[in-house]
Symmetry: C2
Subunit: 108 residues, 2 copies
DNA sequence: CCCGGTACCTGGCAAAGTCAAGTAGCTGCC
DNA sequence: GGCAGCTACTTGACTTTGCCAGGTACCGGG
């Protein structure tokens, strides 16, 4: 399970430069999320769009059907930055619990 | 959302020393998971027990109803160690995607 | 002309967390 | 004695979200 960070990852990738679903799937797979499925990503993108965090436009491709490029909206950027801090905070907490005394001791 | 790390946190806390649900809720809240609810923790503990990762016994208390103490099983310990590496791997991946743009300035 | 790669969508499912409420033992206060 | 309030666990309905499977469709090459 991706534990709900997927939307965050998508926002982040798209915030660099607009991109389309299929490409995002491939990028995430290469980043180490090998068993990530299209059936997971596309709905996630749709949700983000319907929440107004992403915008999209169709662009014809010469190598296949039209691609749906997504770009981040201001609301999406806000969500992203809030989400990143939430994630960092959670990750720190989890790490401090999971890792034995060595690091748990001088964590804040 | 705690996104699936909760079982891991519980296994970890219990692996230190056996403990009961209510106490675990309080400990996790103090660790920074303030909006964590009993309704989240108790079912999570039950699931872990039904999967054979935790064992339990009832112990009468002088300050209220009997407490259900959980202790980790060998299977639970295995699950824990596997889960920790999975988490750390995921965390690393997520961090590497998220970090680049969120300038290093508001890191810890 | 069909196959394989590109590209998207959908519906049904299951796991896990949230919310809300309920049950019940215990202490202390009036 | 009764009630408030803390302790402690349980349960049910609901929602999100990821997983799986399948479907549609455009394209180039053998």
């Amino acid at each position: 399970m991706l534990k709900g960070v997927l939307p965050l990852l998508l926002l982040r990738l798209v915030s660099d430069a607009e991109d389309y679903g299929y490409s995002l799937v491939l990028r995430l797979q290469e980043l180490g999320l090998a068993d990530l499925n299209e059936g997971t990503v596309y709905p996630a993108l749709s949700r983000l769009e319907s929440r107004g965090l992403l915008g999209s436009r169709l662009v014809p491709s010469t190598t296949g059907p039209a691609r749906k490029y997504y770009e981040i909206t201001p609301a999406g950027a806000a969500e992203l930055s809030g989400g990143v801090s939430a994630w960092e905070s959670l990750a720190r907490t989890v790490h401090s619990v999971l890792s034995p005394a060595t690091s748990a001791r001088n964590q804040r």
